[in-house]
């Protein structure tokens, strides 16, 4: 049986304000570690400013068929927040005029939104250079109504990005739930079968790697090499790129860090690995994140912390390019996750 979301359990960490409070207390409050703002100032970046919009990331709902232990969305089957067709239409109107080269659909499991296919078809008509769907893989095998997803993705030339924390069953299932590894392998084979991830194929299939515990990701290229070698030799599966993403200390991962007494050490690891070069390319400066109910955020993490954009325009229905440009990015201590080591973004490392 799947676990329940923090929200369903009425856990205090389902509350964004509570999370932000925790992130400002303890080792940050007593001065052991610098606040993220102070760290930016130390590298002569008093504030982070948004640049030209390149990526529009739309979270079409928090419902998911999985309940991953590290999920920053706190997604799961019990989450009912789903983007309506009306909000989707507002997003489509914005896509037409943004000039963003990438459209990135995420969730939850975006495919569980009843209007998902309609939205993909309509958005494809507008024509963006890179149209990403973040698929958790298991949704493809979860129910026969999803079995045609690989063909559907192919028809609309969707760039599929899927999560895979390890090439072994034990580590994958520990993070993502029992049976997830086998179902993911089956789904990857289905995607390979229609051409996704194959060498020279234009049907892009990339994997996302999140560490399955309180440690930072290793070298992205080395991990990609190991993933490719293992998935090919063990399962004859191929994919294009591996993106390594650092787990940010919010929501369920924050809950895990606190419960396992790893929080302080993890925050130390993030702060010690602070890389000014990563600050230059953090994704919040070229991304806009839209929530299921149409509010605008600098990134998906800020969405979960309910930190809306610093702008006179905060909702997709009022979208205005000028009002959103050169805005000051909302930051807190979770931002150390994107600036550690080689940096981290939804497209992997940034430095």
């Amino acid at each position: 049986m799947l676990a329940k979301s923090l929200k369903k359990r009425e856990n205090e960490l389902a509350n964004a304000k509570r999370q932000l409070k925790i992130l400002s207390q303890g080792i940050f409050e007593n001065g052991e570690l610098p606040m993220f703002n102070a760290q930016l100032e130390a590298v002569n970046k008093s504030v982070l400013k948004s640049k030209a919009l390149e990526i529009l990331q739309i979270n079409v709902g928090y419902m998911c068929n999985q309940v991953c232990a590290h999920c920053h969305v706190d997604a799961g089957p019990d989450r009912k927040e789903i983007m309506t067709r009306k909000t989707m239409q507002q997003c489509l109107d914005v896509i037409k005029k943004t000039g963003a080269h990438t459209l990135d659909l995420t969730g939850g499991a975006p495919e569980m939104n009843p209007n998902f296919k309609w939205f993909v078809v309509e958005a494809t008509k507008i024509g963006v250079k890179d149209f990403i769907v973040r698929s958790n893989l298991t949704i493809i095998t979860a129910n026969k109504k999803y079995y045609d997803l690989p063909e559907f993705f192919k028809k609309y030339n969707i760039h599929v990005i899927s999560s895979m924390p390890h090439w072994t069953k034990g580590k994958t299932d520990n993070q993502r739930g029992d049976g997830v590894f086998n179902a993911s392998i089956k789904a990857l084979k289905m995607l390979n079968a229609v051409g996704y991830g194959m060498p020279e194929s234009k049907l892009k299939l990339d994997l996302v790697y999140n560490p399955s515990g309180a440690f930072l990701p290793g070298n992205q290229d080395a991990l990609e090499f190991d993933f490719k070698k293992a998935l090919l030799s063990d399962f004859n599966i191929q994919f294009h790129q591996l993106f390594s993403i650092t787990n940010l200390p919010i929501s369920r991962f924050l809950d895990y860090l606190l419960a396992s007494d790893n929080y302080n050490d993890y925050m130390y690891s993030l702060v010690e690995a602070f890389n000014p070069a990563a600050v230059e390319n953090v994704m919040c400066t070229n991304t806009l994140s839209v929530s299921w109910d149409g509010w605008l955020y600098d990134c998906d993490f800020n969405q979960m912390l309910e930190l809306k954009v610093n702008s006179s325009v905060q909702h997709i229905s009022k979208f205005n390019k000028e009002a959103l440009s050169d805005r000051t990015i909302c930051v807190s201590q979770h931002c150390y996750g994107c600036t550690a080591g080689s940096g981290s973004s939804c497209q992997g490392t940034v430095a």
């Binding site: 390890h166 090439w167 580590k171 560490p211 515990g213 290793g218 080395a222 190991d226 993933f227 130390y268």
Partner: protein
């Protein structure tokens, strides 16, 4: 001053060794960094060797550091425990092979 000889947070202060002798400290860390680069052995293989040696020299700081390093590299627990056994086997073998010395001495002294 901590009341125990080992404090996990001291691992983070390892770099401070340089504060009291910059030249030697720097030479050590340069050497250390160079050793663990990709070479004839991969950095991954060296990480497992370091983990095994960490156990043989019974260094809690090193065990902490190289368990984390292995996790970051995607090294599995099956690989880690085999490395630890390899170290342990050599260490126990080193003890046991001295049994030959005992046997030699025993024979020499016995009628």
């Amino acid at each position: 001053m901590s009341k125990s000889y080992y404090d996990p947070s001291d691992l983070r202060k390892f770099g401070n060794i340089t504060d009291w002798n910059e030249e030697l400290g720097k030479k050590f860390f340069d050497y250390y960094e160079k050793v663990f680069e990709e070479g004839a052995l991969t950095a991954r293989e060296k990480s497992l060797i370091a983990l095994a040696v960490s156990h043989v020299v019974k260094c809690p700081y090193c065990i902490d550091a190289y368990t984390q390093d292995g996790l970051k590299r995607g090294i599995t627990k099956e690989e880690m425990i085999e490395a630890v056994h390899a170290g342990a086997a050599i260490e126990s073998g080193a003890t046991l092979v001295h049994g030959v010395q005992m046997m030699n001495k025993y024979k020499k002294l016995s009628m």
